[in-house]
């Protein structure tokens, strides 16, 4: 870890004012906001993040969960993962979000980690986290060690010749399926970003992970009013029973009417370089009969563009089984 300046911000504008001087809000940012610190401090100890100035935003409030006037939900950026997962409204109306949060990390981490921190969680790619090894995300232009390396846990969707790292967040997958909106305040004012557009594909700049600019502070996230007739679920597949990142996961929001898929929102985790919206599959399913054949066909479509790496070919099959089973759970075709 290197020496850094530490400021506990008293107001949102003070925090933004300091961070606006950062050269970037992406990898290599000299100024970082710190909330729970569960990702950032870890990466600082590893020498992956080397900010010279930390702006502590824990005293800025932003920790309420409230109904919006449209009937949706407004989640403060500093709401802790545990509080969000156990919020009665979330449990009742946005079950996939609660299930996603509770499937991630450990109880201790969830007590500390925040909503915006989870949103901005960095990849667990082992080469990104090891400064002795090449990584384009950490050191642009140094190369990607994961391609032809130990890439069992990495992405099969959205990869580029420069990066195949997965977005590790469970929460993000649910937020994509739930059509969340990210609210940002920056030096030039406030703006909103659809969740699906918040994270970037690696392309040839894998060091750029989000659309955030220097000084941008995520203040809250909103969810649209819940579809009362829909069921939402999150299914996570991994080696052990807890405390492990997903090999494949799926968030599904499904409304069935007259034996047909009437409303479908699907997103997957563990397989994409960003939380992966399955729009084409949603289209295919909408209006189709709810049965095993339809679901199998949809699952195949989900991995149509998959590009397996040297050691993660199994994810092509696993992702299909994951999505299919999440759909079976949400439609009552399966109970466990």
């Amino acid at each position: 870890m290197e020496r850094f300046q530490y400021t506990r911000a008293r107001t949102v504008s003070e925090a933004i004012g300091i961070a606006a001087h950062s050269s970037t809000a992406q990898q290599g940012a000299p100024v970082r906001y710190v909330a729970g610190g569960t990702t950032l401090v870890d990466l600082m100890k590893l020498g992956v993040e080397r900010p010279t100035h930390l702006v502590d935003i824990n005293k800025l409030g932003m920790n309420a969960i409230e109904r919006t006037k449209e009937g949706g939900l407004r989640i403060g950026a500093l709401v802790r993962n545990a509080a969000l997962a156990h919020d009665p409204t979330v449990v009742r109306d946005y079950r996939a979000l609660s299930e996603a949060l509770l499937s991630g990390a450990s109880a201790q981490l969830r007590n500390v980690a925040t909503t915006s921190g989870n949103l901005l969680q960095r990849t667990r790619c082992m080469y990104f986290r090891n400064t002795a090894m090449a990584c384009n995300k950490r050191e642009p232009g140094s190369g990607c060690s994961a391609i032809n390396g130990d890439n069992r846990t990495l992405a099969i969707l959205g990869t580029s010749p420069h990066c195949i790292a997965t977005n590790p967040s469970d929460m993000n997958v649910a937020l994509v399926a739930l059509d969340a909106t990210i609210h940002v305040q920056g030096p030039k004012g406030t703006r909103t970003i659809p969740m699906q557009a918040f994270h970037l594909l690696p392309g040839d700049t894998p060091d750029r992970e989000t659309v955030l600019e220097p000084g941008d502070l995520v203040t809250h996230i909103t969810l649209p009013p819940p579809n009362a007739r829909a069921t939402s679920r999150y299914l996570k597949l991994r080696d052990r029973a807890s405390y492990e990142f997903a090999l494949a996961s799926a968030a599904v929001v499904v409304e069935v009417a007259g034996g047909q898929f009437h409303y479908v929102r699907l997103a997957m985790g563990g397989v994409g370089t960003k939380p992966w919206r399955m729009s084409a599959v949603e289209e295919r399913l909408t209006g189709a009969a709810v049965d095993d054949a339809t679901i199998r066909d949809a699952a195949q479509l989900a991995v149509r563009d998959a590009k397996p790496q040297s050691e993660n070919g199994f994810k092509v099959e696993l992702a299909q089984r994951c999505l299919a089973h999440a759909l079976r759970l949400a439609t009552g075709l399966a109970s466990i």
Binding site: M1, E2, G47, R124, M126, Y127, R129, N130, A132, M133, S145, N148, G149, D150, T153, L235, L237, D239, R240, A241, S242, Y243, E244, F245, L247, F314, E317, L318, R321, C322, A324, H325, R328, A334, S335, I336
Partner: protein
């Protein structure tokens, strides 16, 4: 000296075989137990090693100009600017053992990734880490070899042989010929390895995370080049070791060396990442196992050929054939082995070394044979139960393997098993059942102990063995209480210090068996001494009587013929003007001893696993486990059960999760953290039913007690993979079982 008092422990006249919570429990749960990295001394500095980032090559230059000038930095040491270390000479028995024999900085050659090439010393750990990161090391890299597939470096050497194994195999009506692989596994005790070294003149005290203080001193005095009596090693509590903390590792020598150079105490804590590189691991094994049998399931041939990886300099052998020659009755047998050199850190013993990977191969092959014969796997083993150890032609001191299987089958409900793959269902899931047997050696090593009975009625028990979390403090208090009648809350046990009477290593599951006879004898000797004092001298309480006329009970010496004649022990000692009644005891090793020439000494057991399998999601979990262990008499069944349960949880990790993977290009163990090296979590631990048959093995010691630290891990992975096959039809011969394997179902 930190000692463990019997804090509020219940006392009863007959305590052995009860269920006593560990007496050091209150200290541990209240945070008052001092572990090595908790030690903080005045003026103490921190050392952080610089680890090589190549796996093979040479150090060409080290540039420490920036690092030296950093805040708080006292020194940067490397080959050439620090007093060189010696190698320690060959071990004698279990004294003087070290697996990585090359001391740090001996030459400029790098032979594995993470090898220490320099060390930074600073006022705080953070400053030392920053300085270590700022040291620029220039390497000339050579090609390295971390290949997974093992090839013997020379022809196989025979470990054990009888009859004509090859000929009998060829003519056997039923044959199994398979290769089984176990991966590199890292011990990963939750407590990091650590050393605090403090010199006073030419004497050094090492606070060390060690399972063997006496051995540590034996090695370190030689490597530091000081007289043996100048080295004291202390280890009061250990956050477990699993074998990884048995023998010294290079950080300990380094800490002692830099503390000598800087003239201040130095703390060095090994990071989790470095623990994948420099403190040993269970090496990868590749085992070809061949079985020949008659159609009615009688074994006619058994061949076990195995390889294990080792480091470039050290020939560590993982003795996979340990149990093979005696487990079953078979007239023709051959066990042979060889090594494969790799640019990796030196391997070391990990819980059940040899037997654990070896039994995975043997018991998997037996399961495959049972299936080939269409025979119940318990019946197959029953038909091959030996009457004696066929490799040594010696009787077993105590073997109840068949009973283990019978009891286990009953507890597990084995009779309800439908052997067809995937045939058993419950709650919408497929169920798989599997079983395997297990074994671990029953041994004893030399041990000495001292017992002192004080005037105030308290008693101290001291011996330089260790409590590595297994309950040694508690067991020794129990034994001493049993021998003297002094209640547990008046007993103080002192362990883990080379100033105490020499005690055994905490390894091989023999610490308990070794030290119990010594403590028991010492306690009896102390009582005898008290009774002698009662009868001699002008103020003697029982002048004219002989010690044989007296007995000691309830803290009093009394005539056997007249229990009301009792004199408190404090009075006895005061009248004799003696501070304390002292007794010493010792026990001898079984290694090369009379017992081992007359008997084959082993523990046995049977493991039963149930898995649940959801084909739709390829989700497999261990849902139930039954372990029946024949390991002599249980002195304290509660921590003993704890040992078996912990081992089973570790076995689930071995079967389903654990593997250290080396990156081919960098030569580094790449998943060197607890997020990427997957071990079992609580959520992976099923209900575990442990039964001890509790037949005393009186050949081994007077109480008939053997150790149970390792046997619970043996056979566990084979039972689980058998259950996996039963549920899914997939036979996994290369651990761990992965989702990739199961997707083939």
């Amino acid at each position: 000296m930190s000692r463990s008092k019997a804090l509020g422990a219940p006392s009863a006249p007959k305590v052995l075989g009860g269920k006593l919570p560990r007496i050091d429990g209150p200290l541990k749960v209240s945070g008052r137990a001092t572990y090595t990295s908790d030690i903080s001394l005045p003026g103490m500095l921190y050392a952080v090693p610089v680890r090589s980032t190549i796996a093979s090559g040479r150090v060409v230059a080290i540039d420490d100009r920036v690092a030296r000038k950093m805040l708080g930095v006292r020194a940067i040491y490397y080959r050439g600017n620090i007093r060189p270390f010696f190698r320690s000479g060959p071990a004698q028995g279990f004294s003087g053992l070290i697996d990585e024999k090359r001391p740090p900085f001996e030459d400029d050659v790098v032979r594995y990734y993470g090898q220490y090439v320099a060390v930074a010393v600073a006022q705080t750990m953070e400053q030392a880490k920053a300085a270590a990161d700022a040291v620029r090391v220039q390497y000339a890299a050579d090609a390295h070899n971390v290949e997974r597939r093992l090839v013997a470096e020379k022809s196989l050497e025979t470990d054990s042989e009888r009859g004509d194994a090859e000929g009998a195999f060829k003519s056997a009506p039923v044959q199994i010929d398979q290769t089984y692989v176990t991966p590199t596994e890292v011990h990963n005790p939750i407590e990091l390895h650590a050393t605090v070294a403090a010199w006073e003149g030419d004497r050094v005290t090492l606070y060390e995370t060690t399972q063997a203080v006496m051995n540590h001193r034996e090695v370190l005095y030689q490597m530091l080049g000081v007289p043996k009596e100048n080295v004291r090693v202390v280890s009061h509590f250990l956050g477990s070791g699993f074998g990884g903390k048995l023998w010294p590792w290079s950080h300990s020598i380094l800490a002692a060396g830099v503390a000598r150079e800087v003239g201040a105490p130095v703390k060095l804590v090994v990071t989790r990442q470095a623990m994948f590189e420099t403190v040993g691991h269970r090496p990868r094994t590749q085992q070809r196992f061949r079985l020949g049998a008659t159609r009615d399931g009688k074994l006619v041939s058994m061949q076990h050929e195995y390889l294990n990886e080792t480091s470039i300099l050290d020939a560590y052998k993982e003795d996979c054939g340990e149990a093979t020659p005696f487990m079953y009755s078979v007239p023709n047998l051959r066990v042979a082995s060889a090594l494969a050199r790799r640019n990796i850190g030196t391997p070391t013993a990990m819980r059940g070394p040899g037997a654990v990977p070896g039994l995975f191969a043997m018991e998997s092959a037996m399961d495959e044979l049972a299936i080939a014969l269409n025979m119940d796997p318990i019946e197959l083993r029953r038909r091959n139960e030996p009457l004696q150890d066929e490799s040594t032609k010696l009787p077993f001191s105590s073997r109840h393997l068949v009973e283990c299987m019978q009891v286990g089958a009953e507890k597990f409900g084995w009779a309800r098993r439908d052997p067809r793959v995937g045939a058993m269902k419950r709650d919408g899931l497929t169920i798989g059942w599997g079983m395997a047997t297990c074994s671990w050696g029953a041994m004893r090593s030399d041990a000495q102990a001292t017992v002192e009975i004080q005037r105030d009625g308290t008693m101290s028990v001291t011996t330089a063995t260790q409590d590595i979390g297994t309950g040694t403090y508690t067991v020794l208090a129990l034994v001493a209480s049993e021998a003297t009648g002094i209640p547990l809350d008046k007993i103080d046990v002192g362990l883990g210090d080379t100033t105490l009477p020499p005690g055994p290593i905490s390894g091989g599951s023999w610490a308990t068996a070794s030290v119990i006879p010594a403590v028991s004898a010492a306690a009896r000797a102390a009582v005898r001494s008290l009774l002698t004092l009662s009868t001699s001298g002008k103020n003697a309480a029982f002048a004219g009587a002989t010690p044989d006329d007296l007995h000691f009970a309830n803290g009093r010496a009394a005539r056997k013929s007249d229990p009301s004649s009792g004199v408190p022990l404090g009075d006895v000692l005061a009248r004799a003007n003696v501070r304390a009644a002292v007794g010493s005891g010792q026990s001898r090793t079984t290694f090369g001893g009379e017992e081992s020439r007359k008997y084959s000494l082993h523990s046995f057991g049977a493991q039963f696993a149930e898995v649940t399998w959801q084909p739709e999601t390829a989700r497999l979990r261990v849902s139930r486990f039954v372990s029946v262990i024949d390991a002599g008499r249980m002195i304290n069944p509660k921590p003993a059960r704890n040992q078996i349960e912990g081992a089973v949880v570790m076995g689930i990790g071995m079967a389903l999760f654990e593997e250290a993977r080396y990156d081919k290009r960098y030569g580094a163990p790449i998943n060197s953290n607890l997020a990427d090296y997957i071990v079992s979590t609580n959520a992976d631990a099923p209900a575990i039913d442990v039964t001890f048959l509790d037949y005393p093995d009186l050949v081994l010691n007077e109480l008939g007690a053997r150790g149970v630290g390792e046997i619970g891990l043996a056979g566990t992975a084979a039972a689980i993979t058998a259950a996996v096959h039963h549920a899914t039809g997939v036979r996994v011969r290369e651990l761990p079982v992965r989702i990739e394997d199961l997707l083939r179902a």
